[in-house]
Symmetry: C2
Subunit: 300 residues, 2 copies
């Protein structure tokens, strides 16, 4: 089975939603991705935390079977983020942001990890994404996430990175910002023109669409009675997707589509509780059960 | 093949979108529904127009094979509506509304039409919907549309109608208004509690979800490079859906699902030009081709 490497953030999140509040829960893009992907394949985590990072959290990640050799510990505090979601959970405000040790993060890929076949560049500065990508030998598939902030403030380095990316994962709004197009199909065509081999546009409760030059694949989201906290949904989606690809080794159109459904399934679970809590009790059986429910929900 | 009856409006629409403007194009909920449904099965139109209604428009509808015996002509002017869509095409303002002869519309179902197996109550006053429904003998399937205006101003008669409805067709916003729930799953559960056998929630460019007490079916929309004018999309959706059901006679879960995909396909065509223009050149072959494309777009 192929191995996955993820570079991104490990953080503590304080989250307020219309239904509740959670303080200092384990979060960060690399965390959510790694936990989701680990259901399917070996995962190497490349990130940085402060020397305040509790042993219990480290044990939790290690206990999930995630390789933490690349989790650097530096003097100082771990990255902290606080956000508040609106009644419309698609909208959130950042209330506080303390980069702490993450401000000087210079990801190093250990020799043993450089041969990883699947690389996920979670949301960090695109210059760091480029730098870390160059340290891998010959990945079979590179996927990349970003946020509006980098599109606005580091467009040139971000665009320079795109021809080295197999799959760009963005949401509706980021796709618009990057392309200047409101319509999702035209936005995706323009983004493909920038050099990425495929682009997956995530649309929250409305599902996702995969665009490549050869084809389009649209899936609805799994309909939930309650979305408790959307934090980490995009990273869990990417984790399920990359994990399923690494496990099957099937990067055909059909393999990609099934992997996207696994991504949808993982995203549908993580939003059922604050931060990554839901994943802490989630089993592989739960995932397979919901995958089958998803088939039943969409087949015609 | 079963016959379909639709009661609703025939109107002239003046439409402004970010990409253009069209004046006095043939519109109205019953018009768009009837043209869409007629690709599949015989359709009886029950509506009213003024004595200004041009012979050419009448000929167009008759030429499509729609039974116009129930199209009453009254002294006065035909219903006129003018609307303006925002950059976000999900939002529109009504600029002008002249009910004209439609203000006194009292739909009468001719004896020959009372045996129709499929009845669509397009958006009109729910008291009229109830009244017209009572004139049918024993329809196999009754579907019903509405708008926020009736939910707000005629909730009691509308709710009284629901236990007589097999399929309520609403959009996201109407589902919220009717149920008081923001989440689409909880909204649908509450609406089912009001007595309709099933509820289809249309979500524009994001697709649709069918809820019944036994199952849920989610479909994305057909992704279009340009949505030219959303007017009539909901009615064309309902027309494709009811048409396909009437043609197949298959009201099983599987039959419903295929019919919903036909609805999706018809909606995807009508938005490609102003009002119902696109349907004037659309062939059944075009519909089947896009149905197959839709299968390819969604299968995994």
């Amino acid at each position: 089975m192929s191995e996955i490497a993820v570079v991104g953030s490990v953080a503590f999140d304080t989250i307020e939603t219309p239904t509740g509040r959670a303080t200092d829960v384990l979060g960060g893009s690399a965390t959510h991705f790694a936990v989701a992907a680990r259901y399917f394949a070996p995962v190497h985590l490349i990130a940085v935390v402060g020397d305040d990072f509790p042993g219990a959290e480290r044990d939790y990640l290690a206990g999930r079977g995630i390789d933490l050799a690349g989790l650097e510990v530096r003097p100082g505090k771990t990255f902290r983020w606080a956000g508040r979601y609106h009644e419309d959970l698609n909208v959130r405000d950042t209330v506080a942001l303390e980069l702490n040790v993450f401000a000087d993060f210079r990801p190093r890929v250990a020799p043993a990890v450089r041969s990883a076949a699947y690389v996920f560049l979670a949301n960090i500065d695109p210059r760091l994404q480029a730098d870390v990508l160059a340290q891998f030998e010959k990945p079979a598939l590179v996927a990349c996430d970003t946020i509006g902030h980098w599109i606005e403030t580091a467009r040139q380095p971000f665009e320079a990175l795109l021809p080295r990316i197999d799959l760009l994962v963005v949401n509706d709004e980021e796709a618009r910002l990057l392309s200047g197009e409101r319509n999702v199909v035209r936005a995706a065509r323009k983004i493909l023109g920038l050099g990425t081999r495929a682009v997956l546009v995530k649309r929250g409760e409305y599902g996702a669409i995969l665009f490549s030059p050869q084809s389009v694949f649209a899936v609805p989201a799994y309909p939930l009675e309650q979305v408790f906290d959307p934090t980490g949904a995009g990273d869990a989606f990417a984790g399920g997707l990359m994990g399923a690809l690494a496990a099957s080794g099937d990067r055909s159109e059909a393999g990609f589509r099934r992997a996207i459904v696994y991504g949808t399934v993982l995203a549908s679970f993580i939003v059922e509780d604050f931060g990554g809590r839901r994943l802490s009790t989630l089993t592989r059986d739960d995932i397979e059960r919901r995958y089958r429910e998803f088939v039943a929900l969409t087949e015609f």
